[in-house]
Amino acid sequence: MTETEEVPVKALTGRRAELKHAYTLYKQNPVVVAGSIIAVGSIVLALLSNVIVNPNIWQVEQLGQRLCWNNPTFSWPVTNVFDCPGATYPLGTDSWGRNVLQMIILALPLDMEISLTIVVSATLIGVALGSFAAYVGGKVDEAILRVTDIFFALPALVLAIVVMTILGRTIMNLTIAVLIPWWPIYVRLIRSQVLSEKERPYVEALRSTGASPVRILFLHILPNTIYPVIVQMTLDIGNVILTFSALMFLGFSPNPLLPELGNLVTEGISYVFTAPWLIVFPGLTILIVVLGFNLLGDGVRDVLDPRLRR
């Protein structure tokens, strides 16, 4: 019998080696670390928000304390800033007298939830339609591509506005309105990934073993193509927040009191010269959250994809 071979001596092999290597790469990349801290931070904050802040506060109007800035450490170079009695407001109050900091904390879970719903739904639709198109090919593939073309031809925001106008202003409709222009990208992305992966020799090898197309698709092709999709998803979380903030800004908010980052910005526009904190802090929050997820998305692929590193 042929001689048993030596594999070079290494401390760690298999999965543990992969994870350790991934962690090393992760640590070496400050951009990813920063992004992931912000992203994870936002999510944690979102999860804990109902614990930190009373979730019913946003429905209350305390007009006696509207538009105050009462932060001893930092003051605005704006005249006639009303100082509120009582407790300090670290980020001021808004036009209904609510604590802006609390509003931001309450807004995070809503934003994250909508955003994740949209991104995950788009991905699921993308996986279903995209892999179907790639696998079946022919006219079905052509048909699906042409449908995505139609959606690409229409500007996303305009499409969302139309949908909102037809459906009316609720959170659910808002989610649908942003999802509709969003899903075609995922179909295209996953379709092209599956198409190219399908041609690889190991897929042919699996077919020759007797594996069914479903098995090959879900257990082999999709896991190998997932990294670009994850990158797209993380980048999109931020972009989706921006898009429906824009929708809110355009007036499609279901309730002006709603604690949502875009909503807060919208309501603050009217007071930009008299109470700038109403725009600055929610806006800054949007910026940081979106930036965090973008940075994370940029770095995720480098860290996770085993093939890129070989």
């Binding site: 042929t2 001689e3 048993t4 190991y202 042919e204 020759s208 073993t209 007797g210």
Partner: protein, 339 residues
């Protein structure tokens, strides 16, 4: 004597070429034409030829990875030409394939253990996880690697080791026939020797039948009992290995054998025998496909395509003249035949 375990009858494989705005079919790549062969149980049949000859396509048609355009394929006497979908699964168990590129043929995200046990699970060969794991351990030892390699990923191994893993995976379903598509072409020479020896040992131990595809004439001579030479989609010569090597009768076979460099300075060739390039299977010349490069071509050759016929016992040749290069020839070049 039809105790062939795999047999093909007049198999054709044409690939349509689409063109134009409406993607109409404008032509065909005639990859394989009129391929009739039989493989006997326990033997190694070699498929030899250069690029574009159709050997890889023919192997995939036999494996039912692609459909034949025409013709029949038989496995153990059963006609498997038109079987599709789930009914193909039991066939898959009987015929396995090892590919040329050992890295690309393994899923890079799968551990060796998973790659080996997956076929077992697909065909329900094992019932429990531990049974699968034990089988995997047995298989990995059979191909000369050891069980701690099971938890590793393909990229942690060298080319030769990966090819052993691919062989182990093919053996996992206990097949009868293994198609080997250039299994050592991307390996170093010393590793190639190890893998070829392994294949020979496995053939004896498990009574396997091999269909061995290669363009390397030295490896083919070493591994195969019988060989088939292909050119531009057609079988041009078929006989026992030694008969073909010692007494080739088709001008292409002769040219092929003469072109193979010999690792021996005393056996230098000097001028190349064959001019021109290997043609493409889109525009096939009329008459005999080889006539444009053949030094013995006559008018007959451009008019009529020759049939595959027996030149002598058990030696089939597709040539009007079936030249006996050995007896008619001086050491280097045969004399030109009268037109």
């Amino acid at each position: 004597m039809t105790d062939y375990i795999v047999e093909t009858k007049a198999v054709y494989k044409w690939f349509p070429i689409k063109g134009g705005i409406l993607s109409r079919t404008v032509g065909y790549v005639k990859a394989v034409e009129d391929a009739s062969l039989g493989v006997r149980k326990g033997e190694t049949l070699g498929l030899v030829g250069e690029s574009g000859c159709g050997k890889t396509t023919l192997a995939r048609v036999i494996m039912r990875l692609i459909d034949a355009t025409e013709g029949q394929i038989y496995l153990d006497g059963e006609d498997i030409t038109r079987i599709r979908g789930r009914k193909l699964k039991p066939i898959r168990r009987k015929m396995q394939i090892v590919f040329q590129d050992p890295y690309a043929s393994l899923d890079p995200r799968q551990t060796v253990s998973s790659a080996l046990t997956e076929p077992m699970r697909i065909h329900h060969i094992v019932r429990t996880r531990s049974e699968a794991h034990n089988e995997a351990k047995r298989l990995i030892r059979v191909v000369g690697l050891n069980p701690d390699h099971l938890s590793r990923f393909p990229h942690e191994f060298s080319g030769g080791q990966r090819q052993r893993i691919a062989i182990a995976r093919a053996l996992a379903v206990e097949p009868e026939v293994v198609v080997l598509d250039e299994p050592t072409s991307s390996l170093d020479v010393s590793v190639q020797a190890q893998v070829l020896e392994l294949l020979k040992d496995l053939q004896k131990e498990f009574d396997l039948t091999y269909l061995f595809i290669s363009h390397n004439l030295s490896v083919i001579r070493y591994m195969c009992h019988r060989i088939i030479v292909m050119y531009l989609g057609k079988i041009v010569e078929e006989a026992d290995t030694l008969k073909v090597y010692d007494n080739p009768m088709h001008p292409y076979t002769f040219a092929l054998l003469s072109s193979a460099p010999i690792p021996d300075p005393e056996r230098r060739k000097g001028a190349a025998l064959l001019e021109g390039d290997v043609p493409s299977p889109i525009n096939i010349p009329s008459g005999c496909r080889f006539r444009e490069r053949c030094q013995f071509a006559t008018n007959l050759c451009s008019q009529t395509e020759p049939e595959l016929e027996a030149a002598e016992l058990q030696h089939l040749v597709r040539c009007h003249y079936k030249i006996d290069f050995v007896s008619k020839a001086t050491e280097e070049r045969p004399r030109k035949l009268p037109a």
